[in-house]
């Protein structure tokens, strides 16, 4: 606290660089809490030990706290990327590392990407300085042009991370099991979506048999399974509904089949992609199946997406489906572009609040972590972004990002490159510029 007097003279935003355990107050902003308090003008948010203590209008901050002046600013929860390979890939093509994809068939459900997460990857800082504070990191199957002959209809387990610097960046394992149906699943299963469905059913059936006859299995008195024990154990979370299936699927008829399967096994599912999900909006709402969609992908990229349309997000939200967004083109390196997806959904009928919810609270709800993050509410972890203007506008970039109460450094490899080449003085090559 003795540092307070030296910080006092700073005009705008004060960057606390050290301890988390301080008390901080964000004062004067328009706060979109995404919680029951709605939007609060001239709000004060008090943060202690990484958590939000209080949020209220015009409340005087406690004495002797580090104050962040947000007067005239917009304050939102940290953005939450619901899909992608952050921390699992640096340069995907012909470079590496690329830890989101298996190169053989050794594992299915137990392929847990949490173990590969690298919080020091350049992608982490590049995305967090633009407001991404949380991400669900997902395995993915082999792409159509990648080498290998693995199946991977079941790609493996997703994890939830914070994009901070601490060793506690891995927040939760097994937030979803990634599965591919439809055209992609068909390609991975030998050329028919029947094969993809059979692969999934076989895995679930074996997991059930293993669960119900574990003692026999361990005594060698049960038939052998096509999946190893690690995979069968990983599937138990799906059977208990602790872990939803995260299903890449677009075509309406495939979504109908998925809904039947989910009902039959009594498990949970989240749809990834869902170009034609809007056609089944009411049914998805009734089945409590959320959709993570790419609102800018409105072209029929394949025959699964013939009925893609601009208004998908608005239609799904109106029916009561929980939605979140991902950039269909680059949800890893440019996970930060989640605000563009949200803004375009607004341009096509979604309310602004629902759009912001889709990139903050909704993914936290979808992946079962909304009790700790996703909104600015007392008791939640203080992931907060301070913006100079409307965060969905593409001309707007964050002024300050807090992850678990800590003001992060707003530099990244890209800002360093930029700053080096902003200078134009000659004499020495750029490598000598700092």
């Amino acid at each position: 606290m003795s540092r307070l007097s030296t910080l006092f003279g700073l005009l705008a935003i004060i960057v606390a660089t050290s301890a988390v355990a301080e008390t901080t107050a964000i004062v004067g902003g328009t706060v979109h809490t995404m919680g029951p308090q709605g939007t609060i003008e001239n709000a004060t948010i008090v943060i202690d030990d990484g958590r939000i203590i209080s949020v209220g209008e015009g409340t005087a901050p406690p004495a002797k706290v580090t104050t962040i002046d947000a007067n005239g600013k917009i304050v939102t929860p940290g953005l939450f990327s619901p899909i992608g390979n952050l921390g699992l890939v640096e340069v995907g093509l012909s470079a590496g590392p690329l830890d989101a994809v298996q190169r053989d068939n050794a594992f299915t459900a137990s392929f847990d990407v949490a173990d590969a997460y690298n919080r020091r990857s350049t992608l982490i800082a590049i995305n967090r300085v633009e407001g991404i504070t949380r991400a669900v990191i997902t395995p993915r199957p082999r792409g159509p042009y990648e080498l290998g002959n693995m199946s991977h209809v079941i790609s493996g387990l997703a994890a939830m991370v914070n994009l901070g610097d601490s060793e506690h960046s891995l927040e939760r394992r097994a937030v979803a099991l990634v599965v591919n149906l439809g055209e992609r699943g068909s390609g991975l299963a030998g050329g028919s979506r029947v094969g993809a469905l059979l692969t999934l059913r076989n895995a679930l059936n074996e997991a059930i048999d293993y669960r119900d006859h574990k003692d026999d299995f361990e005594r060698g008195a049960r038939r052998t399974y096509s999946h190893g024990v690690a995979d069968l154990e990983a599937l138990q979370g799906v059977l208990s509904s602790a872990t939803p299936l995260y299903v890449d699927v677009h075509r309406a008829s495939d979504i109908e089949v998925l809904m039947q399967l989910v009902d039959e096994y009594g498990i949970r599912a989240v749809i990834s992609g869902g170009a034609e999900a809007w056609m089944l909006a009411e049914q998805l709402a009734a089945a409590d199946i959320a959709v993570v969609l790419a609102p800018m992908d409105i072209l029929p990229g394949n025959f699964d997406r013939i009925n893609a349309r601009r208004e998908s997000a608005a239609i799904l939200a109106a029916a009561g489906v929980t939605i979140s967004f991902a950039d269909g083109q680059s949800h890893t390196h440019n996970a930060r572009n989640i605000t563009q997806s949200a803004g375009n959904a607004v341009a096509n009928g979604l309310s602004w609040d629902d759009a912001l919810r889709a990139i903050t609270l909704a993914p936290a709800e979808i992946f079962g972590v909304a009790s700790s993050v996703g909104s600015i509410e007392p008791g939640k972890e203080a992931d907060i972004v301070i913006w100079p203007d409307d965060p969905l506008e593409l001309t707007t970039y964050p002024e300050q990002v807090l992850i678990k109460g800590e003001s992060i450094s707003m530099t990244s490899r890209q800002t360093l490159l930029r700053d080096r080449y902003l200078k134009t003085e000659s004499g020495k090559p750029p490598a000598y510029r700092r």
Partner: protein
């Protein structure tokens, strides 16, 4: 009225200039058979107009007639013109994408539609992208809904020299000839870096390295120069003309300045090498495409009058894209070079205005203020220049083609949509009237057709 008279004089001048263009030769193979849509005189009133020529006019009118822009001023009168109240809305030139693969990599992206890369040899200057364009690509219509009135369709980047590109008007036709931009020169696609060496090197063929790439370009130019010498000699009666060679014909077209080089090139050091190759063989590089590191050599680009066509933020998907920064286009522009925002994507082409907005905001963070009237040039007049059509489109000036977008608001807001798109003065798209909008054959019967161009 004085404005109007000056305007009409300018029209005549420009039409003459355009008619003199070589590309208008109707006897040329695959010549343009483009016919503008039927239109009528239209007066758009009370708008904020970004002219694409660097200026902004508030509360201004623009008169379109006979396919051309007639005048831009306050309080214009347009007798016999349909008057459209555009107050509160913004008007810009039609958006132009210098780098698209619509039609050659169409939607749906099936293997049977994959017609963009002639993956059979590293130099395929003999192929023309227009022979692969599928006019029924629904992507043309969604691009139109994003305000795109013209675009260059290029071959892919697997080859050192991938073939000829073609500039199209975004009016879906039965065939590519009826979409070809009248008078536009051909482009020629070249590619630096990873793609050619990965594809051919991976097969044990040349090039397998960047030095192999450079040897490949230089060998091609040596063959072209030799062909040109023999052709010219034969014309003067010295020796027999060699057999006509489609590949070398394209390359000679570049050496003669009739075909414009569009060079896929990410890294700063490679752009520098390519500029030296161009000097060695006496051709010009019109634009580097993707140009992820253009900001590192912006001064070189300015010196060589070479444009950089860039994404706003694509980076890291391969090693040569690792140093991408959001401020790239702004730093190129600051150095006095020609900055272009391009798409290379059927998704991105629908929102080049939004991509530009990202750069405006990023530049502002570091104190580079880019006014809307300047930024709009990155997606209108600058790409028009790179396509060699800036005399007739790319800015709102009397006499130019009436390629015009009426936006619901500031085009650099994410909430703004293109309300109307005029191409050669004809209403080609209307967000509020789906009956106006084209529906490709492929789209019939789908939800996209029900919503027109959505």
């Amino acid at each position: 009225m004085k404005t109007l008279i000056v305007a009409i004089a300018t029209v005549a001048l420009l039409i003459t200039a355009c008619d003199a263009g070589k590309g208008d030769d109707a006897s040329a193979p695959f010549a343009s058979r483009y016919q503008p849509l039927p239109g009528r005189a239209t007066l758009l009133t009370g708008a904020t107009i970004l002219t694409g020529a660097g200026t902004r006019l508030d509360n201004a009118d623009i008169l379109l007639s006979d396919g051309k822009i007639v005048a831009i001023a306050e309080d214009l009168s347009g007798e016999n013109a349909t008057v459209v109240d555009a107050s509160g809305r913004w008007i810009t030139p039609g958006i132009i994408d210098v780098h698209s693969h619509l039609g050659v990599y169409p939607s749906p992206a099936t293997a049977s539609h994959s017609d963009g890369n002639e993956l059979t040899a590293p130099v395929t200057a003999e192929v023309w992208a227009e022979h692969s364009v599928w006019p029924q690509d629904p992507g043309f219509v969604t691009a139109l809904a994003g305000g795109v009135t013209a675009m260059q369709i290029l071959p892919g980047s697997a080859n050192l020299i991938g073939g000829r590109g073609v500039t199209l008007k975004n009016v879906p036709g039965r065939d590519v000839q009826s979409m070809k931009f009248p008078g536009a020169p051909h482009g020629m696609k070249m590619a630096c870096g990873e793609n050619p060496k990965r594809f051919y090197g991976g097969k044990g063929l040349a090039p397998a390295t960047r030095m192999g790439n450079v040897a490949g370009y230089r060998s091609a130019w040596i063959a072209a120069a030799d062909y040109r010498t023999k052709m010219e000699a034969a014309e003067k009666g010295k020796g027999e003309a060699p057999m006509r060679d489609l590949k070398l014909e394209t390359l000679v077209g570049v050496l003669d300045g009739e075909i414009l080089v569009h060079n896929h090139c990410y890294r700063a050091d490679e752009m520098s090498i390519m500029l030296d190759i161009a000097k060695e063989f006496g051709y010009k590089i019109t634009a580097f495409h993707h140009a992820v590191e253009a900001y590192k050599v912006a001064d070189l680009l300015a010196e060589n009058d070479t444009c950089a066509a860039m994404w706003a933020d694509w980076w890291g998907f391969k090693m040569e894209a690792y140093d991408g920064i959001r401020e790239n286009a702004a730093l190129v522009d600051r150095a006095g070079a020609c900055a272009i925002i391009h798409s290379d994507s059927e998704v991105g082409i629908q929102r080049l205005n939004q991509e530009t907005a990202k750069v405006i905001g990023a530049a502002a963070r570091v104190g580079i203020d880019i006014a809307p009237e300047r930024a709009i040039q990155w997606i209108t007049s600058n790409p028009a220049k790179a396509l060699g059509v800036d005399a007739v489109t790319g800015s709102l000036e009397p006499g130019k083609m009436a390629d015009v977008v009426v936006w619901s608001g500031n085009p650099f807001s994410v909430y703004t949509r293109a309300d109307q798109v005029y191409i050669d003065g004809a209403l080609a798209y209307d967000r509020h009237d789906v009956s106006v909008n084209p529906v490709t054959d492929f789209t019939l019967g789908t939800s996209a057709a029900e919503g027109g161009a959505q």
